[in-house]
């Protein structure tokens, strides 16, 4: 009975043991990695299904090697046969077996009849009193191929970036890694091994542009849209470069922002050329203003002479009263108030001339066009009288502000009114009229200058805008060309048309947006 029980128990234990072995086997065979287990001396004790199957495929790192073979010997043979990648694997296994290391891991290539494969080997000590090691091989050929593709893609992009003079960089937010093309490093003034960080990037951006760049990038992050921005870099060597950059955030599989990818082109040369051109345009506009002033000298002399003569007369009158002893304080006060008013008036004329002909930076601010029209007509006052022309204004009430260079705006108006006067030289005096009008539309203001003169050449109205076209014997033919370029630089449009009698020039200028107004105040 007892024996039977013992036998039964033993049978149960054996059965349990068998079941346990079968379970372990099952587990090890279920693994997709190629697993071999070595004893302390490097002999293979066991291996799993994947390992064995790999031999059949003849793609294994060591084909035909299974239980009973010494893995270390196999490796040594391969190493002496010239397979250098095995040397480190061998060393790794040996150090784990000897207990020097508790883990060894590396990736190595393996040339097999099926082709070149890549494996990742992981060697861990076998947790057994007898010692030994567990070796797991994982086929990483695909991953390696993908990595290579990425490397090649990067190289190709780098090549493209370099040949197009582009800076290209990515900042991987997940892995906290970055990459920048050589050209980018050159443009940003980074040394080849200096890692690009967000902080470093912003340090290079010109302080005046930092906020704008930051906002553009943040907006792109929020909206997942690409951004395009022009900004300046201030390099450590002190040089300023202009960049035109585009970029966007890439998202990972779970739709999280993962990587920032940017491309930029160095547009410094272009910007310098543009700046040069802008300065040339400004200078040309100024020369044209100086020429206009020349035409207006008689008129301006009159505007100055009026107050100066009045001052001189008042002063002479004051002296006479004084000599006669008939100068009353009340009268003196009145006289002096007039003198001060006239002195201010003369000052304003000179200030106006100075402003008009000085070099200006083309600075734009909020301008009331009706006010500018009134100023110009004041300036032209005696010229209009001298030419016996009457001027009529039909100005829209309460016009919205426009963003413009006030001096250039005056120049536009002055040119158009002077042109209108020229066009009416042969018109009978009684018919010499000019109508200056403003009209408001939703997002623009149209200003019109209409004359009752001979009209424009019927064949080609646009001809009046071309360089050196002039109907005036002494004219340079630059006036309207410059007027048009100024209007267009302000985002407007200048047109010319014949009316039933005479010609009408009109130009549109965009109304200042509310946000612009806030900025400019």
């Amino acid at each position: 009975m007892f024996l039977a029980t013992v036998i039964e128990e033993r049978a149960t234990v054996e059965e349990t043991l068998r079941e346990s072995n079968a379970l372990n086997r099952g587990i090890i065979d279920s693994l997709t990695s190629l697993v071999t287990i070595l004893d302390r001396s490097g002999f293979i004790i066991t291996s799993n299904e994947a390992w064995r199957r790999s031999h059949e495929l003849e793609g294994a790192p060591t084909p035909g090697i299974d239980v009973g073979a010494n893995y270390l010997e196999v490796c040594r043979r391969a190493a002496s046969a010239g397979d250098l990648s095995v040397v480190s694997v061998l060393e790794g296994i040996e150090t784990v077996l000897s207990g020097e290391r508790i883990e060894f891991q590396c990736e190595y290539p393996c040339v097999t009849p099926a082709g070149s494969l890549w494996f990742e080997i992981l060697v861990l000590p076998l947790r057994s009193e007898a010692g030994g090691a567990v070796i797991s091989h994982r086929d990483i050929t695909q991953r390696k191929a993908a990595e290579r593709t990425i490397r090649e893609r990067d190289a190709r992009i780098s090549l493209a970036a370099e040949s197009a003079n582009l800076a290209l960089w990515t900042i991987d937010l997940e892995r906290n890694e970055s990459w920048m093309s050589d050209q980018g490093r050159a443009i940003f003034g980074l040394s080849p091994n200096e890692p690009l960080t967000r902080k470093l990037f912003f340090a290079r951006v010109h302080p005046e542009d930092r906020e704008e760049v930051y906002n553009a990038i943040e907006l792109a992050r929020a909206t997942s849209e690409s951004f395009e921005i022009e900004y300046r870099l201030r390099r450590p060597d002190g040089e300023t470069r202009w960049l035109n950059a585009r970029g966007r955030y890439l998202r990972n599989a779970s739709e999280e922002v993962a990587e920032l990818i940017c491309v930029a082109i160095d547009v410094t040369a272009q910007m310098k050329a543009n700046l040069e051109l802008r300065l040339q345009r400004l200078e040309m506009a100024r020369m044209s203003r100086v020429a206009l002033m020349g035409e207006l000298t008689a008129s301006l002399a009159h505007e100055l002479n009026q107050p100066l003569t009045a001052i001189a007369s008042n002063a002479a009158a004051g002296r006479r009263f004084l000599q006669q002893g008939s100068l009353e304080p009340g009268m003196l006060d009145e006289l002096l108030v007039d003198v001060v008013t006239d002195a201010r008036r003369a000052g304003a004329v000179i200030h106006g001339i100075h402003n008009f002909v000085r070099k200006n930076e083309g600075e734009r601010r909020a301008v009331d066009i009706n006010e500018t029209i009134r100023e110009v007509l004041r300036l032209l006052h005696s010229d209009l009288l001298g030419r016996a022309a009457s001027i009529e204004t039909r100005l829209a009430s309460a016009v919205p502000l426009i963003k413009a260079d006030p001096i250039q705006l005056q120049q536009i108006l002055l040119n158009l009114v002077m042109n209108a006067l020229e066009a009416m030289q042969t018109t009978p005096m009684a018919e010499r009229r000019i109508i200056v009008s403003t009209q408001c539309f939703e997002d623009s203001i149209i200003t019109g200058v209409r004359d009752f003169g001979r009209g424009l050449p019927r064949d080609d109205l646009d001809k009046v805008f071309t360089h050196f076209y002039s109907t005036k014997p002494g004219g340079m033919g630059m006036g309207l060309t410059i007027v048009r370029s100024i209007v267009e630089a302000h985002g407007g449009k200048l047109t010319a048309a014949n009316t039933e009698k005479g010609a009408q020039f009109s130009f549109t200028l965009p109304i200042m947006q509310k946000c612009e107004m806030l900025q400019s105040t």
């Binding site: 007369s313 009158a317 007039d338």
Partner: protein
């Protein structure tokens, strides 16, 4: 200086010019009136004393030269001084030809302007005096009969009665009678008296046909 009141008028579209000039003229002892435009001046009743008009060339509406032209047919006594911001030769020539006293370019010296005003007022006074004399002389001459007037026009050429008779184909005696009556009516005692009177009245002497010369020499 005459005892008749004098007046300086200023026509300028610029208010501060008007005010300062008025003050200057007052300081020099003149009474001065100001007008903002030519039309306002034309609307003022004609001043009968010596007067001077200080006139801006450039003005809206009727300009300085236009006002000068408009004033001519009125025959009033004002003498014009033009003021201008800049010298314009054709304008200046036209103004002076039409009898302006001066053409001053701003800014001018106060003495220069006051000197011009003095000359203008003097000229205005002369003009008024001559005009009064002419009127008085005309009034007297108007009392003559047509025949007496005709004889008078020959007398002032220095012809003798005989020669006048030949011109008018009448008797020397008849001429003598007309001549006597004319001298009586005009209150003249000599031929030079008659000459002065007719000159004042602006009457041109007759042009002799010289028919008498043949007779005299014959």
């Amino acid at each position: 200086m005459s005892m008749t009141p004098e007046l300086v008028c200023i026509v300028d579209d610029d208010q501060s010019m008007r005010r300062s000039l008025q003050r200057l003229f007052k300081s020099a002892g003149y009474s001065a009136e100001i007008f903002a435009c030519a039309e306002d001046y034309l609307a003022r009743e004609v001043f009968d004393g010596p007067s001077c008009l200080v006139l801006d060339v450039r003005m809206p509406g009727l300009n300085g030269l236009g006002l000068q032209e408009a004033l001519e047919p009125r025959g009033a006594g004002e003498q014009i001084i033009f003021l201008t911001g800049h010298g314009n030769v054709p304008t200046c020539k036209q103004a002076m030809r039409k009898g302006a006293v001066d053409f001053l370019i701003k800014p001018f010296d106060d003495e220069e302007l006051l000197g011009a005003v003095r000359r203008a007022l003097g000229r205005s006074e002369d003009y008024l005096l001559k005009r009064a004399e002419r009127r008085e002389a005309r009034e007297r001459i108007n009392k003559l009969t047509p025949r007496e007037f005709e004889v008078l026009r020959f007398v002032i050429t220095g012809l003798l009665n005989k020669q006048i008779a030949a011109e008018l184909q009448t008797a020397e005696k008849t001429i003598k009678v007309h001549r006597g009556r004319a001298m009586q009516k005009l209150g003249a005692i000599s031929v030079p008296d008659l000459v002065r009177l007719t000159q004042r009245a602006g009457i041109a002497p007759a042009i002799p046909s010289l028919r008498h010369k043949a007779r005299v020499s014959a």
